[in-house]
């Protein structure tokens, strides 16, 4: 805060003090009210302190009409902030802590310990700043007028400026003169103030003189001011502060004994340390910076508006520099600064940032501790184990158009309202059973159950991927059942419940069980047996995002596949070498374009067996074809290389991909 900026205000105050237009008690309240860091940090439009709040005992639950007051946590004169503890009350079996809704100064307690307080009856009187929102029912009926009208405009502004100025002094003197500066008598405080100010404002002796002159008359009119709370000490002489505040002070090299505490019981709050830091920073800046003109930028007559930015020293500016003008003047000689200047500017920047970070009243700037519990904690252990085995990866893409088309057909059969009444007999019964299994309808069949069933079909042909390495390390255990795990992200972490014996289940049954597991996982109620006994895992990370991944195999399984996000991509259609096949492919509907024809073998340019044509012909044919849109799903395999080799995994992947790209093949596996 710029003391010099308040010079005009202080001049006004000195005149007022002589005229004693302000009541003594009002001044004392103003001065006290300047103390809380909460108010100082906020931007102030000074209108003075005019609200007296009678804070009532709030409703503590239905049926409770009164409570016994067990203990007070505040006394008159204490400064409270919002949510600070006021007292403990007891209602029957409950001891309840009552906290304040408002920040301000406690002026009166309405009950003694042991009294029965009716719910809604006033508990304490708190004086709050005028700009604090107060519920009308809390305003005390006969509000003590703090400022009489004639002096309304000037006096409160000036008075608060003075309050702020004088507030500054105990802290400043706290810094310079140690913990026992305020022995309790106002005059000594004021005296110290004047001295301190003289020391601080080296570059404006005129202002200092005016200030000292302005301050001098004030002590006589504050005879009844309760002394500012002395820096608190415990029996060991240690200032009282919470561990967080201690750490913050230590971080910034602040000795707690030098800081004046304004918290309840004189405790040192974080804001007090921040205040101390500000002053120290300003002191250092004032000493280091070049002389700047003290521009008295008075904003409006008789109204000095103190903004937060006045308190938080700008990075390059001088101590307490008010407003941009001073800043500019400081920086005018800024070009061609020496390294020392740059260094001290950086130091000020860091200090300002520390102050600003604290002044925001927000986070500490320390890392937040989030305990790992439940699935997250389990993941730490599981992934450590997974990292121990040699994993290799294989990536591929699957054209999903035909599978999506097949799904639409199945949906037509399963979902109510789309069920054709013409279906009768076992088909209808089966479909009804399946839709009942899917939660009575309304559950959309996604493509995942189809992928899972296709995986199972592929595992039947490649059983070595549904296996585990025996503990001996020399045997492979081929599991009879395909317990396919599906990775699910829940708010509490990653879980992989598995669907048991997929080889025996229909797609509808798989879909139903998957839906149940998803609901249980979301609710956090997965039973242990759902998490045990998996033999292979699918991770549909694509629903969240991403294309290719490098999933980690979870032992004792040997393979895992991650499905990336399905996207429409342009792909050149696989051309059969025979022109007729090409024509057929071209003539086929969009759903069939771009897919390997039924005759093609695995991947790439796999030959059709037709010897006709050769490389050149097919590429020529391909060159004339246009790319077509294909729903491409990227897949990423991970496998345990102790057990699975690349060829085996590639063969398995091809087999599975064929089932996905030509779902009719699954008909061959209907058991």
């Amino acid at each position: 805060m710029n003391l010099l900026k308040c010079r005009s205000g202080l001049r006004a105050l000195s005149q007022l003090c002589h005229s004693s237009a302000l009541s003594a008690s009002a001044k004392s309240k103003l001065l006290l009210a300047g103390v809380p860091e909460v108010q100082l940090q906020e931007s102030f439009a000074l209108r003075g302190f005019a609200q007296l709040v009678s804070f009532p005992l709030a409703q503590t639950g239905e049926g409770i009409s009164e409570c016994e007051l067990v203990a007070w946590a505040v006394k008159p004169g204490d400064v409270v902030g919002p949510f600070d503890k006021l007292c403990d009350v007891q209602s029957d079996k409950a001891a309840i802590e009552i906290t304040s809704r408002y920040g301000g100064v406690v002026t009166a307690l309405h009950h003694h310990v042991g009294a029965m307080v009716k719910v809604g009856a006033p508990l304490v009187d708190i004086e709050v700043a005028d700009d604090v929102q107060v519920a009308p029912e809390h305003l005390k009926a006969a509000a003590e007028a703090v400022a009489t009208p004639p002096v309304a405009a000037v006096a409160p502004a000036a008075a608060l400026a003075a309050a702020a100025a004088l507030d500054l002094s105990p802290k400043a003197c706290g810094g310079a003169f140690g913990a026992n500066s305020s022995s309790g008598t106002p005059p000594s405080t004021a005296t110290v103030t004047a001295t301190k100010i003289a020391v601080q404002v080296t570059s404006a002796p005129a202002a200092a003189a005016a200030m000292a002159a302005a301050l001098a008359p004030t002590p006589p009119v504050r005879p009844d001011t309760p002394p500012p709370p002395p820096p608190p000490t415990e029996e060991g002489g240690r200032p009282q502060a919470s561990p967080a505040v201690r750490a913050f002070a230590k971080q910034n090299g602040v000795v707690l004994a030098a800081v004046l505490g304004t918290g309840p019981g004189g405790r040192i709050t974080r804001g007090d340390v921040v205040q101390y830091l500000e002053q120290r920073q300003r002191r250092e800046a004032a000493e280091a910076a070049a002389e700047g003109e003290e521009d008295e930028d008075e904003e409006g007559e008789g109204q000095v508006v103190l903004q937060a930015r006045h308190f938080l020293g700008p990075a390059g500016g001088g101590g307490g520099g008010g407003g941009a003008l001073q800043q500019q003047q400081q920086q005018r000689p800024g070009r061609g600064r020496s390294a020392e200047d740059v260094l001290s500017a950086y130091k000020r920047l860091s200090a300002a940032e520390a102050v600003r970070g604290g002044g925001g009243g927000g986070g500490e700037g320390e890392s937040r501790v989030v305990p790992l519990r439940g699935y997250r904690r389990a993941m730490v252990g599981a992934m450590t184990a997974a990292a121990a085995l040699p994993t290799f990866h294989l990536h591929d893409e699957v054209a999903m158009d035909r599978l999506l088309a097949a799904r639409e057909v199945m949906r037509g059969a399963l979902e109510p309202g789309r069920q054709r009444t013409a279906m009768g007999g076992p088909a209808a019964a089966g479909a009804a059973a399946a839709s009942a299994a899917l939660g009575g309808g309304g559950l959309r069949l996604t493509v995942l159950p189809l992928i899972i069933k296709a995986l199972s079909a592929a595992l039947s042909l490649h059983p070595h991927l549904n296996a585990s390495l025996a503990a001996s390390g020399t045997d492979l255990l081929l599991h009879p059942h395909h317990n396919i795990g599906v990775a699910m992200a829940t708010p509490t972490g990653l879980v992989v419940p598995n669907i048991k014996q997929v080889e025996r289940k229909s797609v509808a049954a798989v879909a139903a069980e998957l839906a149940l597991l998803q609901q249980l996982a979301a609710a956090g109620r997965l039973p242990a047996e759902a998490l045990r006994g998996g033999s292979i895992t699918i991770s549909n990370i694509g629903t969240i995002g991403g294309t290719y991944a490098t999933p980690l195999v979870s032992p004792p399984e040997v393979a895992i596949v991650a499905l990336g996000r399905m996207q429409l991509m342009p792909r050149y259609p696989h051309m059969n070498h025979s022109p007729t096949a090409a024509a057929a492919a071209a003539a086929a509907g969009p759903a069939h374009r771009g897919l390997p024809s039924a005759n093609s073998s695995f991947g790439g340019f796999g030959g059709t067996g037709s010897g006709r044509g050769g490389w050149n012909e097919s590429s020529a044919a391909a060159a004339s074809a246009a790319p077509v849109p294909v729903s491409v799903m990227p897949v990423s395999w991970g496998a345990d290389h102790r057990v699975v080799d690349g060829a085996a995994l590639a063969a398995f992947n091809n087999c599975w991909r064929e089932f996905l790209e030509q779902p009719e093949r699954l008909l061959l596996h209907l058991a």
Partner: protein, 265 residues
Amino acid sequence: MSRPVLNILRLCRLPIYTQLHLEEALLRATKDNWLIINDGAFNPAIVVGISGRPPELVQCDEAVRYGIQAIRRFTGGGTVVIDHDTLFSTLIMQGSSLPQVDCFPQPIMAWTEQLYRPAFAAAGCPDFALRENDYIVAGGRKVGGNAQAITGRRWVHHTSFLWDFDPERMGLLRQPAKAPQYRQGRDHLDFVTRLRDVLPTRGARQRLVEGIVSSAAALGFDLQERTLADAAPALRHPQLLLGTKLLDLRTFVAPDGDGPQRRTT
């Protein structure tokens, strides 16, 4: 829709003073949820509520002659005399973990009924219920003493279930001035009941403890079993405004040895 974590601490024969200290520390110094079950205290003690005035609640001179420990706890409620046959169950909860429960005495107590009723049913007592801030079983007999402390959005609700009690020690207490309506003027021994009479089958005490834990799981918590070592660091936290205190009943005894006017319990 994340499941809140409930830390389970199973204890046996922990001294009640230590337990209360620990509970207060966990309430004030942590933000975790705890279910603490202490199957029997180590030594007999009289425990008065935070605002209890011992001369009104305890036969102080007799208690001094008996040599029983007296403690003031940090929660409200009345006076209990406890020993190795008292089963303690404590819930320390962050309000945000139970968004449907307001941080007020009655809603909290109503919620705890949902915890204890299945537990009692599992142990063999189907008619556990809440009435006027007490847990009762058949015939309107009280089975446990309850107390709470609520600070901001965090609360503790602890219960002492009398599996059995010593009538001589029970006689050290005075009748409290306020009696619940459902007591209907009954004598104390007709008003409270021993749990061992309510759950007479063998192993019921252990089943009750297990039942409380299972009930907590069923209420949607993610249970984490903890040990005293996990909980104890809370005690090292400084500046715990401690309500848990040892009481010296001798300070309440008149110098000539005669206690204040006695009322028959």
